[in-house]
Every structure is written in structure tokens, then in C-alpha cells.
């Protein structure tokens, strides 16, 4: 058993590692956030700072259904954000390139 898995006993320990780090959060309703994680709780309520929210808006086109609908991406930035846990699908460290 290596040290990493020993230190981690439950999934939240992984989230804990990302405290004060930038995280990627996927939310219900085609929303995504990236921001610095400051706090979380058992409900996955999160407090993020320096957040960029990305919202996918699918706009069905009028007309025949075989025409693909357009996807619009809206973004906004927030200094500090409280994320209610019931909307959280996924929390992960941002993909590092």
C-alpha cells in the first residue's frame, strides 16, 4: 500500500487536497466553473473565488429537426461564489497541460 492511498480514506480527502487550489466544477444545467476552492462541506457546498462560469446554452433552431441546434457559450466571472452542493456533479483539479 503506498502512501497516497493511505492518506486518503474517503473521497472527501481528495477534495481536501484541492483546497486553496484551482478546481474545475461541473454543475447541473450545463454549467461549469473554474475557481479557487476555499471551503466545502459534506453536501458539496463549495466556496470558490476568482470564478469563471461557463454556461452552455443549446438553442434549438426553428425548422426541420435534422438541422443541428446551435450551442452558445456564455461566460461570466465572479470574485467569490457560494455553490450549493445539490448542483455539483463533479469536482476535479483542472487539467494540467
Amino acid at each position: 500500500m503506498d502512501g497516497v492511498s493511505q492518506g486518503i480514506q474517503e473521497p472527501f480527502d481528495l477534495v481536501r487536497l484541492s483546497l486553496n487550489e484551482r478546481v474545475f466544477v461541473k454543475l447541473r444545467g450545463d454549467r461549469q466553473l473554474t475557481g479557487v476552492l476555499h471551503a466545502y462541506d459534506g453536501h458539496m457546498n463549495l466556496i470558490l473565488s476568482d470564478v469563471e462560469e461557463t454556461i452552455m446554452i443549446v438553442e434549438p433552431l426553428d425548422g426541420p429537426s435534422d438541422v443541428p441546434s446551435t450551442v452558445k457559450v456564455a461566460k461570466r466571472n465572479m470574485e467569490m461564489l457560494f455553490v450549493r452542493g445539490d448542483g455539483v456533479i463533479l469536482v476535479s483539479p483542472p487539467s494540467r497541460t
Binding site: 503506498d2 502512501g3 497516497v4 493511505q6 492518506g7 486518503i8 480514506q9 474517503e10 472527501f12 480527502d13 481536501r16 487536497l17 484541492s18 483546497l19 486553496n20 487550489e21 484551482r22 483539479p93 494540467r96
Partner: protein
């Protein structure tokens, strides 16, 4: 089945009858009863009782106007009347309701209060102008009713109620063949069972109408009457029956008062008043349901007082207004208007106050609905559950923020000199909490005492449990909600899997406790570095598992590993910081020793977690550098240093310096040289700031006390192990170099001034430093221009720097470089200075030339920058001719 002949009796009661009219005569139960009733088809009546309510006593649910109140209002003389007669007044009147709107109230006198015609009459409404009815209705008090010619054989005319009762009885007995006999006495135990006719709604409706009738001819609204009456009636009621000052009295008073107000304010507030009345009625309704009898009575008394005070307030204005109408005393209309406004404002204020109190009373009444839903033992039960969640053996750690906050608050209040005192709940401690001393009085005090007693019990129980169960904190809540009973524990499923109970669950990553194998401390990183006098001391260590695998295979830490180490680090730091509060008394020698040992081992663990024992060349980047990469890794350094002695602080510094060019802030510094505002750039900027403020600043005190030797050693480390040019292109690297150079310069100056301070370098040390400087100069001198951020930025931009960036920014960016160059130039020999001037000539000229183009501030700043360097060479910008 006809509804008890209602239409008939209706007509009958309305007085629409004349003697010559043919009227249905009912003779049930009388001597002359013709037995027609028996001929009626009486089938399908089986469930009548269910439908209309049987003979059970009728509840008070719909009795909105209790007769008790009405009685209290009766004129003293009339109060001697029996309930029986009282009732008899009411019952027929129910049938009269539809006629109410036609009533035309007459003049209002005191007598009219007691008069049936007045809307304010609190008597059962027996309209005197319907005198024709009186003979018909009669009353039981006057046992014999007048006869109507056709009903001579009747002993009296019975009320509908009686008839109903008889019919019910008849219906019951019809089956058994027994014929209804004599009218039954139907006296019911309480008068409260029947709805009273004078509901407030009627009263209000009447009043409204009355007002409408009055207002047009209310040319003298300020005649003494209303006040007089109100006061009179008030006093009267007070005097006659103090106890009776409950709902209805004040209601009547209020109505009068309100009329007064209405008249004064020309009806403008009629709406508000009616709302007020409505609210009052609501309260009264609530009271009728027996919910807030006490509160309400108090409220009513208060209301009466308020009315009095209102009257007192109104009087002067009244007087003024009245007198203003008289020709000889005509006031200025403005004054009049002001007075009126003042009066109305006062009334408004009073009303607001009143409304507020009413809302409060409403709220209390709403809440009091739930009074006594729980028994005391229920409450204790809940309290026990709640408190058991709060019990903790370590209030400081569990309620860290509350404790810190309360310490701050106490400090601010100035009272708190109890250093390090931990707030505890109860005397025996165990439960954290907020600021103490905010205790209420009375009931709350009791509650707190009870709570404390409970807490003590719970804590002692919890301690016993903890002893039994060891440190498995999860189980401490077992049984908190009571015992499960009625189930055999033997029925529990048999345990099939044997899983190792891993020591305490998260959030603590205290894996260090999991494995307690000791190992020969492999590491003395200093030994691997320069010929250093600094020695690591601890050889017996408890390595963390991460450390065990972290450097054994000489692979750099993954980011996740680094993050985990940082978390472990913070856990350790919290423990150490917490230990400070547990410091035993100095007298307790054994305790102090034990405490010191534990602390030392924790600090060893910290250093170990920081990977300082890993050989410097084990991997790139060094694990320590990996730990420093995340922001929280940089932040942890000041907190670590606080617990280290200077020797170990220096050891850590060596480890950082030796790997300086591996630091993320050095490697990624080139991001800062791009003009575009990218996320990477922002991140590097942030990390750089963090590094300077946390790591560098926290080392400043130590650095300033260093002698030349460690500085010398660090310079060697930098030279031999790092990429100096790369390092000097980063802000932290430049800072470090500047600091080293200026520190040595300080030594030189002190020696020149003849200072005899201990720790000053010897001349041989200085000489060896000079040779080191020559090496440094050799490495750096050819890249000097590249150190300027403005130069690097310019290189990245094809159209020149000014095209992209405000020169003000580049000047600020360049300032540290000029400072470095100044410190660099001071140590240079003459030939080296020559080289410096040649290398930097263009940069200096550029700045001086562009400075003359800019504004005064820019000019000053640029020249100051340049002069920093030139002064070190003994030159000045003013000597430069453009």
C-alpha cells in the same frame, strides 16, 4: 321534510302578520293537537341526527360572540335578568337579521347607547319600532304571551327552538308510538352554545351605515357627545364592573372613539380604521376560541388606556378646532392646518404603535398555540440530543473559529487578559461555545442551569463511553437518541468481512500515526551540499509513509503527493500550535520534559514531511520544491519557521536556495514577460507575489542576522547548483541576489567604519568572497541587459515596448533590476565597472533620453532608476549629455 316551517315563522316574526291573516298554527304537544304530525311521512329520518347534529351538546366551535360578554354590557338594571330571558331575546332575533340594513338609527344620546336603535347598543337588538312584534314574541320572563285570537288554547307561543326540540323528540318517539307530551324544558347548561346574534360583523355594518348617515349632517362633529359618551361609558363600565373590561366593552368604546376620529379626519382614515377593526376582530376571534384569554384581556386593558390617552390628546386640538369655527376666535388657517396635521400625525403614530403591539400580540398568540405541546421530559430529551452533538473532549480544536473569535472579542472589550483560556460550556468543560457572560435573566437563566446540569451528566456519560470504546469517536453518539428496544441483538447479521480498522478517519490525514516504524534517518541534506558547518541533528525519526516511498525511488513527487504532504503538514502544524496551549506548568518538570519531547518529535515530523532529508540530487524538482509549488505550500513556510530554531531555519533555507532555480516561480517566470494577460501569467504573478510575501519575507529576519559565512555558502550553492541567469530573470531570484550582495556590502561598510561588532567577516573571508564575486560577475555580466523586464518584454513585442505597455509599468518592473545592479556594481573592481558601463550604456541612455520626453513624474522616476545604478559607480545621470 319541511325545515321546521321556517318560512312561516319568518314571516311571523317579521311582524308581517295581521290578526286576520291565515296562519299556520302548530299545536304539537298540546291538548288540541290534531295529530296531523303523526300523519306526516317521517321516513328517511334515520340519519337526521348525524346530519344536523344530534342531541349531543353543541360545541362552541362556531360561537363567535359569546353571550358572556354581552351580559357584561347590559345595563345594570337589566343584568338582573335571567339567562333564560336573555336567550329568548336572542333566538327570534336571528330571524331578524336580514332586516338590519333598514334600521335607521336615531339621535345618539347616552340613553341611545342602551337603546336598541343605536348601533352602539350593546343590548340584544330588539327594535323598539317593531313594537308589533313584541306581543308576538313575548318572552318567557313574561310567561304568558298575548294570544292571537286563533291560538287561544296555547299556553304561550313557543320559540322556534322549542319547537325544534319538540319535533326532534317527536321524531324520536314517533316510532315507538308514544306521542309527544308536554313541551320539554330545554334549558341548556350554558348559554355559550348558541351563536349570538350581535356578531361584530353586524355591528360593524350597522356602524358604517350609521356613520354614513351621520356624516352629512355631522356638522358639529366636535360637540361634546362622542367624547362625553365614550368617557361616560368608560367610566361607567370601569366603575360598575372592573372585571368586565374585556373584549366587547372596549370594542364598543373603540367604535365610538373611532367615530370621533373619523369625523375629525373627514373620513380619510376610514379605511385604516376598518382594517384596524378587522384586526381587532381577528384577535377577538382567536380569543373566542379560548386561545389567548389572558393576553387578550391585558391587551384590552391597555387598549382602554390608550384610548383614554388618545382622548386626552385630542381634546386640545378639538378645542382649537372648535373655537376656530367661532367668528371671534378665528385662527390663521396655516396655524389651523398645522394643528390639524399635528393631530393627525399623533393619531397616526398612536395607531402605528397600537398596530405594532397588536402584531406582537398576534404573534404571541400564534406561537402560544403550540404551548405545552411538549412535556418537560420531551424537551429534556431534545436538549439531550442537541447537547450530545456538542460534547467534545477538545473544545479548542472543535470550535476553533468560535474560540478565536471570542478571544478577539474579549481582547477588543479589553476585559480578556486570560491568555489562552478556552471557552468551555459548563464548569467541567467539554463543550465549546461562544462568548460567555451573555446570560439572560429569569427563565433563561434557569434553562441554562438546567442545560448545564444536563451537559455535565452527558459529558460524564460520554467519557465513560469513550473509555469503553477507545477512541472511536463515531461511536460516541451511539445511544444518544435512546436505546433501541424490543429487538434481539442476536438477530444482527453475522459479520463476514474482517476489514482492518484504519485509524482515525478523515478529515485528518494523520497517516503518520498509522505506521510507527522507525528507521535510521538517512538524511542530512547539508552533508550532501557544500562543506557546511550546519548539521542536521535528528537521526531517529518516524518517517511518514509518503516519505518512505517519496524519495526511495528518486522520482519527483506528483502534484497529488505534494498536496497530500501539505495537508499532512498543516495537520502537524495544528497539533504543534495546539500543544502550545497545553504547555504544562513550569513546576511540573516531568510534564515539561514530556511536553518538550513530544513537541520536538512533532517538529521533526514537520521537517520530514517537508522532505528536507531527501538528498538534494534525488530528483528534479526536489520534493521540497514540489511542496512549495502550490500556493498553500508557500503559505505554510512562515508557520513552519515559527517553530524551528534558527539552525533549522537556516537548514531549510539552504535546502530552498540549493534548488532555487527549480522553483516554479523561477521556471515559470518567463510567463511574466508576455504582454498578453493570460491565465498562466496571472497564476505566475500570484505565485510570485506569494513567494515573496510568504517565503522571502518570513526569512528576512533570519537573513539580516546572518554572518558572511552562510551567505558565502548560499552563494556557492546558487552558483554551483542553479542556473544563475535564469534565476536573475525572475523576481524572487533577483531579490535573493540583491539581498546577498547588499548584505555583504553592509559588512564592508561596517568594517570601513571601524565597527567591532561580533560576527563581522574577517579579511580572509572577505577576500574569498571577492573571488566568489568574480565568478558571479563572470556568469552574470554578459546577460545584464536581459535582466530588465522591459527588455524582455520588448523582445517579445515586434513594435516596441511603448506600443503595448505604459512606460510607467515598465519603470516599476525595472526598479528591482536597477537596485540589483547597484548592489552588483558596488562590489565590482574598476575593470568590472568598466564592463558594466559598457554593457549597460545603451540601457542607461535609453532611459535618460526617454525620461526627458515624459512627464515630470516619469522623468523623475526614470532618472532615479538610472541613478540608483550610476551612484553605485560614483556617477550621476546629470553627467550624461544627450
Amino acid at each position: 321534510m319541511a325545515f321546521f316551517g321556517l318560512p312561516e315563522s319568518q314571516k311571523y316574526l317579521e311582524g308581517g302578520l295581521h290578526e286576520d291573516e291565515d296562519v299556520a298554527v302548530y299545536t304539537w304537544g298540546e291538548d288540541g293537537y290534531d295529530g296531523l304530525g303523526d300523519a306526516l311521512v317521517e321516513g328517511n329520518d334515520d340519519f337526521n341526527d348525524d346530519t344536523f347534529g344530534g342531541s349531543d351538546p353543541i360545541g362552541q366551535d362556531f360561537d363567535f360572540q359569546s353571550g358572556r360578554k354581552l351580559e357584561a354590557l347590559e345595563r345594570p338594571a337589566e343584568r338582573t335578568q335571567t339567562y333564560q330571558s336573555h336567550r329568548d331575546h336572542h333566538v327570534p332575533e336571528q330571524r331578524l337579521e336580514p332586516q338590519k340594513p333598514q334600521e335607521q338609527p336615531k339621535a345618539s344620546t347616552i340613553e341611545s347607547l342602551w337603546d336598541n336603535k343605536s348601533p352602539f347598543s350593546v343590548l340584544p337588538k330588539f327594535d323598539s319600532n317593531r313594537g308589533a312584534e313584541r306581543p308576538h314574541l313575548g318572552s318567557q320572563g313574561s310567561a304568558q304571551s298575548t294570544d292571537h285570537g286563533r291560538t287561544q288554547s296555547h299556553p304561550r307561543i313557543r320559540t322556534v327552538e322549542e319547537i325544534e326540540a319538540e319535533m326532534r323528540a317527536a321524531a324520536k318517539q314517533a316510532r315507538s308510538g308514544a306521542s309527544p307530551s308536554l313541551p320539554r324544558a330545554y334549558a341548556q347548561p350554558s348559554d355559550g352554545h348558541r351563536p349570538q346574534p350581535t356578531s361584530l360583523e353586524e355591528l360593524e355594518r350597522q356602524m358604517k351605515q350609521h356613520n354614513l348617515n351621520q356624516l352629512p349632517r355631522g356638522s358639529s362633529p366636535l360637540t361634546g357627545f362622542p367624547t362625553h359618551v365614550a368617557q361616560h361609558s368608560f367610566a361607567h363600565q370601569r366603575g360598575s364592573d372592573g372585571r368586565s373590561s374585556s373584549g366587547s366593552i372596549s370594542e364598543a368604546q373603540l367604535l365610538q372613539l373611532q367615530r370621533l376620529q373619523l369625523q375629525q379626519q373627514q373620513q380619510q382614515q376610514q379605511e385604516a380604521l376598518q382594517q384596524q377593526m378587522y384586526r381587532q376582530r381577528q384577535v377577538e376571534l382567536a380569543e373566542m376560541q379560548g386561545q389567548i384569554p389572558l393576553d387578550y384581556q391585558q391587551q384590552q386593558q391597555a387598549l382602554a388606556q390608550y384610548q383614554q390617552s388618545l382622548l386626552a390628546q385630542l381634546k386640545p386640538d378639538e378645542f382649537i378646532q372648535a373655537s376656530s369655527r367661532s367668528p371671534q376666535l378665528s385662527f390663521d388657517p396655516e396655524v389651523q392646518e398645522a394643528v390639524r396635521q399635528k393631530a393627525s400625525r399623533q393619531i397616526m403614530e398612536q395607531e402605528q404603535l397600537e398596530g405594532r403591539r397588536r402584531r406582537k400580540a398576534m404573534k404571541i398568540s400564534r406561537m402560544s398555540r403550540y404551548n405545552d405541546l411538549m412535556t418537560q421530559s420531551d424537551k429534556d430529551f431534545i436538549t439531550r440530543i442537541q447537547v450530545s452533538q456538542l460534547v467534545t473532549a477538545d473544545p479548542y480544536a472543535e470550535d476553533f473559529y468560535a474560540q478565536v473569535w471570542s478571544t478577539l472579542v474579549r481582547n477588543r472589550m479589553g476585559g480578556g487578559d486570560t491568555e489562552g483560556s478556552v471557552i468551555k460550556f459548563g464548569q467541567n468543560g467539554g463543550v465549546g461555545g461562544g462568548v460567555p457572560g451573555q446570560r439572560g435573566s429569569g427563565r433563561r437563566q434557569n434553562a441554562i442551569q438546567r442545560m448545564e446540569a444536563q451537559v455535565e451528566r452527558i459529558i460524564s456519560n460520554a467519557r465513560i463511553r469513550e473509555k469503553e470504546k477507545g477512541l472511536h469517536s463515531i461511536h460516541s453518539l451511539q445511544g444518544a437518541l435512546g436505546k433501541t428496544s424490543g429487538r434481539s441483538y442476536k438477530a444482527a447479521p453475522r459479520q463476514l468481512l474482517q476489514v482492518d480498522a484504519v485509524a482515525p478517519s478523515s478529515p485528518s490525514l494523520s497517516h503518520t500515526q498509522a505506521q510507527q516504524h522507525t528507521r535510521e534517518g538517512s538524511a542530512d541534506f547539508i552533508a550532501h551540499t557544500a562543506k557546511s558547518s550546519v548539521h542536521a541533528t535528528t537521526h531517529q525519526r518516524e518517517p511518514s509513509p509518503v516519505e518512505a516511498e517519496g524519495h526511495s525511488d528518486n522520482k519527483p513527487l506528483t502534484r497529488k503527493q505534494a498536496l497530500m504532504l501539505i495537508e499532512g503538514l498543516y495537520d502537524l502544524l495544528l497539533k504543534i500550535e495546539h500543544m502550545r496551549r497545553e504547555q504544562p506548568a513550569p513546576e511540573d518538570l516531568a510534564g515539561v520534559d514530556d511536553w518538550k519531547n513530544r513537541r520536538a518529535s512533532l517538529i521533526d515530523e514537520v521537517l520530514h514531511t517537508l522532505q528536507t532529508q531527501v538528498p538534494l540530487d534525488a530528483c528534479v524538482p526536489h520534493p521540497l520544491i514540489s511542496i512549495l509549488a502550490p500556493a498553500k505550500g508557500k503559505r505554510v513556510i512562515p508557520r513552519v519557521l515559527r517553530h524551528l530554531d534558527p539552525r533549522r531555519q537556516l537548514g531549510l533555507l539552504y535546502a530552498i536556495v540549493a534548488n532555487f532555480s527549480q522553483l516554479d516561480v523561477v521556471i515559470d517566470a518567463h510567463y511574466l514577460d508576455t504582454p498578453q494577460d493570460s491565465p498562466e501569467r496571472k497564476e505566475v504573478e500570484r505565485q510570485t507575489q506569494l513567494f515573496i510575501t510568504h517565503v522571502f519575507q518570513s526569512y528576512l529576519p533570519l537573513l539580516q542576522d546572518l554572518t558572511l559565512q552562510p551567505i558565502h555558502e548560499m552563494t556557492i550553492l546558487l552558483l554551483e547548483r542553479g542556473n544563475l541567469v535564469l534565476l536573475a530573470k525572475s523576481r524572487p531570484g533577483l531579490h535573493l541576489l540583491t539581498f546577498i550582495l547588499s548584505q555583504v556590502e553592509n559588512f564592508k561598510q561596517e568594517i570601513a567604519e571601524g565597527s567591532q561588532r561580533a560576527g563581522l567577516p574577517t579579511s580572509s573571508e572577505l577576500q574569498s568572497w571577492q573571488t566568489l564575486y568574480d565568478r558571479l560577475f563572470h556568469v552574470l555580466s554578459s546577460h545584464l541587459v536581459d535582466f530588465f523586464p522591459s527588455t524582455r518584454l520588448a523582445a517579445a513585442m515586434p513594435f516596441g515596448i511603448d506600443y503595448y505597455l505604459d512606460p510607467n509599468i515598465t519603470d516599476v518592473l525595472d526598479l528591482p533590476v536597477w537596485r540589483f545592479l547597484a548592489a552588483f556594481a558596488v562590489h565590482a573592481s574598476m575593470e568590472q565597472q568598466q564592463i558594466l558601463v559598457v554593457r549597460l550604456r545603451e540601457k542607461v541612455l535609453d532611459n535618460v533620453v526617454s525620461a526627458s520626453k515624459g512627464t515630470e513624474i516619469e522623468y523623475r522616476r526614470r532618472l532615479d532608476n538610472v541613478d540608483l545604478f550610476l551612484h553605485a559607480l560614483g556617477l550621476d545621470s546629470s553627467q550624461i549629455n544627450i
